[in-house]
Amino acid sequence: MARIPGRFRVLLALSGLVVGLALVCYGYAFRATGLVPAPRGAPGSSPAEAPAPSQAPLWASEWDLVKGAAGDTIRRLPDGRLSLASAAAPGSPAPT
């Protein structure tokens, strides 16, 4: 296998780190697509044997962590899109 020059390798690794961090920040701060599954053992949160995808809320949101909007959850709309819906104030604007 060809040897990679050390400086080039370090530069590449650092570039990867910067791009990775930028993606994480972007995902957390500006996009609902930064959302990750939340409730432990909740239906649809993957390995449960009899998932009920229609049951909402299935997901908590990183958006909540960033914006401090506790109680907001992600719901799947009938047309398949995802929506940020607040339990306290239904119909709050969706970030997607």
Partner: protein
């Protein structure tokens, strides 16, 4: 030399480091579902503290969304340490390491089988959820042995509903395989390990082969529990960075950080000889 001695001592405590990380990943007192852990564990486990990056990626694929956080996190981890987390922090790796202590003959896994990790990644994590949706039987989380252990069994204890047959078959086969091979999941099927290992060649933390010190005795190849072709394959994607090879007496293989490039690490005695 002192650094090498430190490394040797540290490698002996690998299992304890893995246990310490296990307490971090599976911690009922900590609950950060909005954060992905960089290891293979199930976020549906009643004790899990972080989300599983593979589970998140599969779900996002089913939703036809790009998982920025997961991709970013994996890029950061792969570029900083490669598959170091596989060897030192993964709870499923720890389980396999502990089961490997059962005194059964350990068979070699052919190197071509590591391609299976990318087949699982492309097929069960990305393609199946993307084209068949999250209810598909080929969705990775419905087959994942970690999910069976960490989530389906606790769920079965709670509700009495047994895990599905494919789940039980896969877990059973894997447990049998673990007795006869070292880390079969990590080396043949783990999509996360496959992704992180891509960074082994480029990461800031890496293994270095000092050819000047090497006596080509083959001790490192014998010492590698996972059958990596050492020393030439020191940056191989099959390495899980357990660092066992760095604890050998010859010191030809060592772990280096960002500041030590191959040029900077060249042995001092080699320079006058070259002149």
């Amino acid at each position: 030399m002192r650094v090498m001695a430190r490394q040797k001592r540290f490698v002996r405590f690998r299992n304890w480091v893995q246990v310490a990380f296990l307490a971090l990943w599976l911690n009922p007192l900590l609950y950060l579902p909005g954060v992905c852990g960089a290891v293979y564990h199930c976020h549906a486990c009643p004790a899990s503290a972080f989300a599983c990056p593979i589970g998140v990626a599969a779900n996002f694929s089913a939703w036809h969304l790009f998982p920025f956080v997961v991709v970013g996190l994996l890029l950061v981890v792969a570029m900083s340490s490669g598959s170091l987390v596989c060897g030192w922090a993964c709870p499923f790796g720890l389980l396999q390491d502990l089961l490997a202590k059962v005194p059964t003959p350990k068979l070699r896994i052919p190197s071509w089988m590591s391609v299976g990790r990318y087949v699982v990644l492309g097929g069960l994590v990305i393609a199946a959820p993307f084209f068949l949706g999250e209810d598909s039987g080929l969705f990775i989380c419905r087959l994942c042995p970690t999910g069976t252990l960490e989530a389906a069994f606790p769920e079965a204890a709670k509700t009495g509903v047994l895990p599905s047959t494919p789940r039980l078959v896969i877990l059973g086969l894997l447990l049998v395989a673990v007795l006869f091979h070292r880390r079969p999941w990590c080396r043949v099927l783990c999509p996360l390990g496959g992704l992180l290992a891509l960074g082994n060649r480029w990461s800031l933390f890496r293994l270095r082969w000092d050819e000047a010190r090497c006596t080509h005795c083959g001790a490192c190849a014998k010492a590698c529990p996972y059958g990596v072709e050492l020393p030439a394959g020191v940056s191989s994607a099959r390495c899980v960075r357990c660092l066992e090879c760095t604890a050998l007496k010859c010191g030809a293989l060592s772990a280096t950080g960002m500041g030590e490039t191959p040029e900077a690490c060249a042995p001092a005695e080699a320079a006058p000889a070259a002149r």
